[in-house]
Amino acid sequence: MSALVSAEFLKFRTTRAWIGFLLAAVALTAIAAAGTVGTARDDQLGTAQLSRDIVSTSLFTALIALMIGIMSVTAEWRHGTVTRTFLVTPRRERVLIAKELWVALLAAALAVLAIVLVLAIAVPWLAVEGSSLKLDGGVAGLVGRIVIASVLWGTLGVGVGAVVQSQTFALVGAVIWIIVVEALIIALLRLVDLDGVGEYLPGRALSSFDGTEEGGLTTWAAGAVSLAWVIALGLLGYVRMSRQDVT
């Protein structure tokens, strides 16, 4: 399995796409961090809430991780490389597991990079304003959750990619699902007084876990639900891939 994971790493760094991902992750994080620090009111400086808001800007990497996860699978179909991939590794579940592992590693690394970047922007900036980050236990927990959330979003992407396979449909579909479809379902569920059910939708559960939304589930329940979605989509992707003809 380590050979397959290192092959995935090699795939990632031998096309130019990674430069785009890295630039997008750095740019989005830097803009969000600078925006959050720069627009903070005086009465917010030094509060635990502001510290959490600043650290949370590193969550943009979760979006990048989702895209990388999706494309790690869909690119194989898009460019026909899946043929050779399956010739080298005919046990297709091994290919999928290697992708999940590789994207998990990369997503964690990206999250750490983003957190370091956010701190590198926020700490000196706040120092100039005579303030500092309030790094309490809450922030430390948030850092851990951001790393885990990035891993969950990334591996969810692998499952989405394996299920959908068309790169365009998977990328656009994932965004539409999170922004439009889930919101619609949640609104409909409210109409019939089933608010609680909506909390279990993947986007909602992940957002509750990483703290971008105030969800009805506890953090760890939301994390468990998110992990269940990652596993479910991965299995569904495997079912689709395992019986598929590659022509």
Binding site: A3, L10, H79, T81, T83, V88
Partner: protein, 295 residues
């Protein structure tokens, strides 16, 4: 050793491969022939575990492809679709495959030199010509130094030297006890390379024979012209040889010219012309695949 047993594959209502069985023995190069759309690629993809048969089984070295322990070190494959990422260099493409199969990187450079791609190895594959893509595919097939080779239309895009090189390589593989299966839709293209031919048409097996037998089918007949052709016809018929009179007064004889000449000489018949009429391999091929055509 490659074995295909009762393989059937349908796509919707189209039957791509229809109860096909054949085997390819070690130490031989076998040509897998049929017109375009005969089901060759589907069969090869089924052998390679890429396509799931509706019924039937395929094995390579006694196992289903997916159960091979070190697939690309046991079976090298080349398919018609280009399977390298256009944005990745040829060398990196092979490095990815080598990494996944735990093949050391020096082997990659060895292969690039073998297929004469060293100079373009670090360029992105999207700029490769058809011939370069084919050579990169062959390098990928040979990367694990496999004992079985399964190549779909391997001569595509190769120049005459490349085809010659490939022929020598495949012959050498078979001589060393390897098993080689190459597909083509042109019999003449593989005639000098293969020991055996498996001919399919509309997914069905038409012929599995030694190349020598197919060539014998092309041996054709002898044309003879003689001022005494009526007597010659009788003599030949008495000798048990089929004879047909042609409109131009010549005879078409189903025997080699040596035989015709000997019979004529023994009986003192004067001959004015003695030639052989050879069918081309393509004519034989068309003839073999023709009966189905009329359906």
């Amino acid at each position: 050793m490659i074995e295909v047993e009762g393989l059937t594959k349908r796509y919707g209502s189209t039957v791509a491969v229809d109860d096909l069985s054949f085997s390819v023995a070690p130490g031989t190069v076998t040509g897998f022939l049929g017109p375009n759309g005969a089901g060759k690629s589907t069969t090869l993809r089924a052998i390679l575990g890429l396509v799931r048969p509706d019924t039937g089984t395929t094995t390579v070295l006694g196992k289903a492809y997916r159960n091979l322990e070190r697939p690309i070190s046991q079976v090298g494959a080349l398919l018609e679709t280009f399977d390298a990422h256009p944005g990745r260099s040829g060398r990196n493409h092979l490095r990815v495959l080598a990494a996944a199969a735990r093949i050391p990187t020096p082997r990659v450079d060895e292969l690039l030199a073998l297929v004469e791609l060293t100079d373009s190895a670090r360029r992105r594959a999207k700029g490769y010509s058809l011939g370069m893509r084919q050579r990169l595919g062959l390098a990928a097939a040979l990367l694990g130094d496999p004992e079985v080779l399964i190549l779909d239309e391997p001569a595509n895009g190769l120049d005459p030297q490349g085809i010659r090189w490939l022929r020598d390589l495949l012959r050498a593989r078979a001589r060393d006890g390897g098993t080689v299966l190459i597909s083509s839709h042109v019999l003449a293209e593989v005639a000098q390379t293969v020991d055996e031919v498996v001919i399919i048409h509309r997914g069905k097996l038409i012929q599995h024979a030694a190349m020598a037998e197919v060539e014998a089918m092309a041996a054709g007949s002898t044309i003879v012209r003689s001022p005494d052709s009526d007597r010659l016809a009788v003599l030949l018929t008495q000798a048990g040889v089929d004879v047909d009179s042609r409109k131009d007064g010549r005879l078409t004889v189903a025997a080699p010219p040596e035989r015709v000449g000997e019979i004529a000489a023994a009986n003192g018949v004067v001959l004015h012309e003695l030639t052989t009429e050879r069918a081309t391999l393509e004519e034989v091929f068309l003839q073999l695949t023709a009966p189905e055509e009329s359906e």
